[in-house]
Subunit: 357 residues, 3 copies
């Protein structure tokens, strides 16, 4: 007697209501274990996250968790409720890193539906959610918006009123959170391996990061399980044999992490990520791919009240099986249309904090 | 001058004596590092083991280690003395989880020979051992019986008197350990993702857990090394080329862990494993296999003195390369004989604690 | 506008000056997370590093990090400055383990150029560096010499004066550091699994360690990223397709770790590594290789002032795809020349401390 599940798990388009608030399950404590594994999975070397004394010199009370590790764990909590029935993850915006997450902190994530739009085919729709992750002191540490296309289960369910939220193109300077205690000038070149500070970067400059990294199936599935992101398409090779990809798809967030780790050589003095303004996973990535990264400097901002710190708005371009020094153009023309170069897998717009002179 | 080892390492059938007590080597401290890696290797999401505040709300003084992680580590200690020369691991029974194991605890395991039976061929025999693992306070945290078929090295050694211990079919309710401090009602649906409690499960019900997980060679060998289980057939691919399997065999305990992690969706409110009544690894598992899980509810027990908690006796069926919703029957008839379906790799009978209304 | 890097990153032969002092970047805190992952990656079982109470019984104030894990992390720090443009890692000597590294310690590494010799082709040269790694209390915990062949970038740069440092064949007994607090006699056979102590080993004896271990691409790349060793040839499979090896090369240090872990069965009572006298990575190793290990006892030393402890100088022979019990000779004759057997990948000369009666 197999108990038939009345309908598949997770929410469908018709289950979402504007203004609906969802507290996501399975809060997570981030320990030194998660941090060590993150280093092994990505090759990350940012000293603030690898060396407690460096963090303390900068004013952190203890070792902060890598921004992206915290983000992936916070984000993963939303998957069972928001995107397990997703047709596609369409985008994210206004990702703000509001407070450091420290080793030992426990993150819980909640989401609010801020937009809905049924597709004209009547079979699916787009759901916009604002998600926030809080630590054990109920302080918001991360806030972001994403929108996903979700199947309808009951095709007869009426279409909701269309509401499309207005989202910022970029997290503006005034919305960047800078820890008050931060003594940015304490980060010295000896610790990071480079004397290049905020002042030395030029808008429009492009950095071809030298290293490449091959990611095995075991690597990305270990990472995605570490984040407790249980979206099936990353794990179930048998199911994915019947997909257009024929194999497991790599979690896009892990591609961000790998490319960001590669970008250390050339961006050594980044202290933290302040915001992700938006991003496109322009092509799928798979186990066995070798990644390379290119960074473009989009903007430079002074930060009022912080004479020793500036913000850099960067474009991180992730390349699959194409070394960074062979990369030329993000887009190609094909059949009269412009699209992403097939070896560009990531086009991420984000903002970092860096010491200035 | 290679020093010839007088005989292979480990014990042979004739080395075991009824009543013999063996203190196993290499005690192990279980840290946050082991816990994080366990999550990455299995995808486990039980909040009690992932979120310290959840554990504390339930009354645990600090974060308890996943029951199966503790078991695999405790069990692994017995391998060099008991099963390194095993022909086959025949079974286990009366596995009791007597006390929580906390992050930072150090486990040591000892075994007593409780049964012996030489096989009629005179070349091997069955050894029954009761093993106990203790923490650094000398408290028994785990106790179990297993029996293995072990080669004889000296075929002339006389057969011992046959003693076959009486083993319980099931760990009876009175033998289930429930921590006194446990405030089961504190586990809320928001934390676990489901409001389904002990009261809501029906005897005979079958749950087809939705997710699948592909396990790479690197995954299961990392896990088994993490447990410090050094049985060679899991690690030595060159040696295994000459085996009937032609490749490394996955440690059966890791199959249990993966299937149990898959069973989270449908059994969200399990607080802990109280007992393993028995189990059969009905077919071998290998790197590259995709696992699915089905649970059957066998029994429901109230627990005297615990009005907020009940026990569920469950059958966890592990499937290899067969999605749970395609699973029909555990056994098939072939050549007039009934046997396990070739894609059933695990048939585990165990008992969990769950909050009740 | 891709900003052309004026020249590749890292130092070239002409950049090194005799007496030059280099403080290497990205100090690293070693946590329980690193330790757990090291166990999972190598199968290490030394109780001093796995069980806090065992370490404390021996007098350690807390759990010391595995000697080789500490070494790999300390060593990795030198890669970006010293060997990222290396043609070949030629050798190492006088590796001294001066103080235990404890969980929570932060290591920083600095190097001094102690020798230079331009090659006769004028295109490269050999650089000798003495490196030291210090903990957060500025105490030197590790000291070693290595020499690498490095490309010249500017072929017109004048050759430096040739200086070749005198290096010891072996770290002499007087230079072995023994922690004052060490109570070696507290390590009992029950904890390690063997009663064989320093007294029982015989000079010239050869131990064929029984186990084998297959190392996947994911295993060695995870390990090398864990160490934060960013030498590209270990990670970039695409780049390595054009190398003579056609694939990623395994970091030699990880081969040492795997072989040392295999050597536990036969050397159970080793407390710590006191020195590495020298080593040869006689053949390359790759993902998919199965490793075996053989140990030869080279020397036995009493340690003045330590009646309960002796030193063993050992030769650890690492074998690739050749079981230890089939190993015969380290060298073979081919075309009238003697060279390493093609399946010997490691010939390591090192010194350990072990309790004595």
């Amino acid at each position: 007697m197999t108990k038939p599940t009345p309908r598949p798990a997770g929410n469908f388009f018709e289950d979402f209501r504007l203004g609906q608030h969802i507290e996501h399950a399975t809060p997570r404590t981030i320990t030194d274990g998660e941090c060590a594994l993150y280093i092994a999975l990505t090759g990350a070397r940012q000293p603030v996250h690898c060396a407690t004394p460096v963090a303390q010199d900068l004013g952190y009370p203890s070792k902060p968790v890598d921004d992206l590790l915290a983000f992936h764990i916070a984000f993963a909590k939303t998957v069972p409720d928001i995107s397990v029935n997703a047709v596609a993850n369409l985008g994210y915006a206004d990702v703000r890193f509001l407070r450091p997450v420290y080793v030992g902190d426990t993150l819980s994530t909640a989401s609010t539906v801020i937009g809905l739009k049924q597709n004209s085919n009547g079979k699916s729709g787009v759901v916009y959610v604002r998600s926030e992750s809080r630590n054990q002191h109920s302080e918001v540490v991360l806030s972001w918006v994403r929108w996903v296309m979700v199947h309808k289960h009951d095709l007869q369910a009426p279409a909701p009123e269309t509401v499309i939220p207005t989202l910022p193109e970029v997290v503006i300077r005034a919305n960047l959170a800078v820890p008050r205690f931060l003594r940015a000038a304490q980060l010295d070149a000896q610790v990071t391996g480079s004397a290049r500070l905020w002042n030395d970067y030029v808008i429009g400059e492009r950095i071809a990061h030298p290293a490449g990294m091959t990611v095995e199936e075991a690597d990305h599935t270990l990472a995605t399980k570490l984040y407790q992101n249980n979206a099936r398409l990353h794990f179930d090779a048998l199911m994915m044999q019947d997909s257009p990809f024929k194999r497991r798809l790599m979690y896009g967030g892990h591609v961000i992490s790998v490319c960001r780790a590669l970008s250390y050589d050339g961006l050594e003095n980044v202290i933290s990520i302040a915001a992700i303004n938006g991003g496109t996973h322009s092509n799928p990535s798979f186990g066995g791919d070798t990644f390379y990264a290119v960074t473009e400097v989009l903007e430079k901002w002074e930060l009022p009240g912080h004479h020793d710190l500036g913000a850099l708005r960067l474009r991180l371009i992730g390349l699959r099986n194409l070394p960074a020094d062979q990369f030329d153009s993000l887009h190609i023309e094909q059949d009269g249309k412009s699209g992403y170069h097939p070896q560009v897998v990531l086009d991420l717009d984000y903002t970092v904090l860096m010491p200035r002179r």
